[in-house]
């Protein structure tokens, strides 16, 4: 195992970097989209519950199936990987955005409007900052989840540690095959831990001292 890591060190580092980069970029994109959608729907009860239903159903779709389906319109390589990872990343963030925004004390929103803040200003300066810890919770769940999904995306020749896993699995029993799979798996787990720590740090930096618990 150790020999395998040493001999393939450059490849492992490169794959890890690509894996992390794919996840982080998709997560950023998903956050923008999910918060945007959440902000559009949270005020309407029916739209909110529609969004929740979609999230619930979306999370039951097997990642592998969606990756396969994405090949037809998007081909192989990076595009289907980005699409699938972003899709899954959106779901927990969207759910938490709706929960966070509807959970803001109505009295606070009323006093924002009452002192002359517009709807948009109230959303940006009051509601989103107050909902932020909840939204960030969604981002962390997403981060963990899509680390694994990004590995599945290697099935369509996407970037990342999934390559190691799939190439190992495809020739199981052959030389170094198990080592390859294990290296990929452990790499994913380590990356997930690092990402979570980074997100916790980000949370500390971006959450007002006034609402920290």
């Amino acid at each position: 195992m150790w020999d395998f890591v040493q001999s393939h060190f450059d490849q492992i580092v490169f794959s890890s970097w690509q894996h992390a980069s794919l996840v982080v970029q998709c997560l950023a994109l998903a956050t923008l989209l999910a918060v945007g959608i959440g902000a559009l729907v949270y005020r309407s009860r029916s739209a909110s519950s529609a969004a929740n239903t979609i999230t619930t159903i979306g999370l039951t779709i097997p990642a592998f199936a969606l990756v396969g389906l994405a090949i037809t319109p998007l081909g192989f390589g990076v595009p289907p990987a980005v699409a699938v990872v972003t899709f899954f990343a959106i779901l927990p963030i969207l759910r938490n955005t709706v929960v966070g925004l509807t959970g803001v004390d109505p009295g606070i929103v009323e006093s924002a409007r009452g002192i002359g803040m517009s709807r948009l200003r109230t959303l940006l300066q009051v509601e989103l900052p107050l909902a932020w810890p909840v939204i960030l919770g969604g981002i962390r769940v997403s981060g963990q989840m899509v680390m694994g999904i990004a590995a599945v995306a290697a099935y369509v020749l996407g970037p990342g540690l999934g390559g190691l896993i799939f190439s190992g699995l495809s020739r199981l029993g052959g030389a170094n095959s198990l080592e390859s799979v294990l290296t990929g798996l452990i790499g994913v787990v380590i990356l997930a831990l690092i990402l979570d720590l980074v997100l916790i740090g980000l949370g500390r930096l971006t959450t007002s001292r006034g609402i920290r618990v």
């Binding site: 009323e110 924002a112 009452g114 002359g116 900052p129 001292r209």
Partner: protein
Amino acid sequence: MSETTTSDAPNISGKSILIEGVTKRYPGQKSPAVDGITLEIPAGKIVMLVGPSGCGKTTTLKMINRLIEPTEGRIVLGDEDVTDIDGDELRRRIGYVIQAGGLFPHLTVAANISIVPKMLGWDKKRIADRVDELLELVSLDPADYRDRYPKELSGGQQQRVGVARALAADPPVLLMDEPFGAVDPITRQRLQDELLRIQEELQKTIVIVTHDFDEAVKLGDWIVVFSDGAHIVQYDTPERILAEPANEFVENFIGSGAGLKQLTLRRVGEVELADAVTARPGEVASEVLARAVAAKHNHVVVVDERERPIQWLTRRQLTRLEKITAVREAHLPVVGHRATLNDALDTMLVSSAGAALVTGKRDRFLGVIDVETVMEAITSARASAAASADTPTGTNSGEVSIIAESDLTESSAV
């Protein structure tokens, strides 16, 4: 409380508000929440909206700053019709305070207060100065409180910051919805006193919703009593509402002890005090007793060299004395001339004499107030209340239309 209408006096920074023929119908409800109300709110005065739960007080208040859009009617601020101007722009010119202050928990005290000035484009220096000035106005030390977060403040302090935030851009009008509902009675009383002090200084036009009638009596220059659908049952001064409730509904609303409530309206210094026989330490007791007998008084007040009361002696005590001493009695029933009649009554009931000594500036003895004086004050309050006039308009469309119809028939007959 003088009701001379000085609406255009230079020191009044408030503007009058006119709510004219305003109706609010919420979708899916049979009867309107606010039914064709016309209400004149004089500049620089505090007007209290009271009434049973669900009668439309909050709806009426929120239509003034158009947090709730009226279904019909118009709102005039000063001499500007604001019914159709941009709501956000209007609200920046009207202070708004809700229960518990409604502070933004993620912003510091200073940032909370700065919001409106920032939106209005003030520069940093001006905003910082204004924040300090306002914190001082609401009795919070700027250096200590500026950088705190709302969760680091007590309920009463949060409420003060809420008032400071509402006053930030010096709006002519302040709207408050049950502002002191969430604090304990002692804090509430202190905040009420503070609001009165601030109002004395600033002379804003303030509209306050409350369900506490005592609060309405204490704070209001005028009180509007609503029944369901924001129907105005009575719009008058606290004195008049207490002395002459328009009907049973208002009577019930005042609750028992209207006379006692009136006592919070009058100060000891405003009523006629009984005089007393006074004596000084060193005088011969029998001479003093003779004076008391001649004046038909049962008590004698001993004052010191600076006219401050130190003893209150009965005739019997005098007979046992040879000379008046300079001893300072510990628990004299004394009230200051600024105390309310209510305070005075409290003091009297505690003292065995059934009366209290009144002191003025530097604790000088002014006279004696007794239960009869208080009773007289209640009676005369009724009389004087009946005399005051100049009530601003307050009607609902239903009542107006009766007059309007008869007007119509007359004019059509011409």
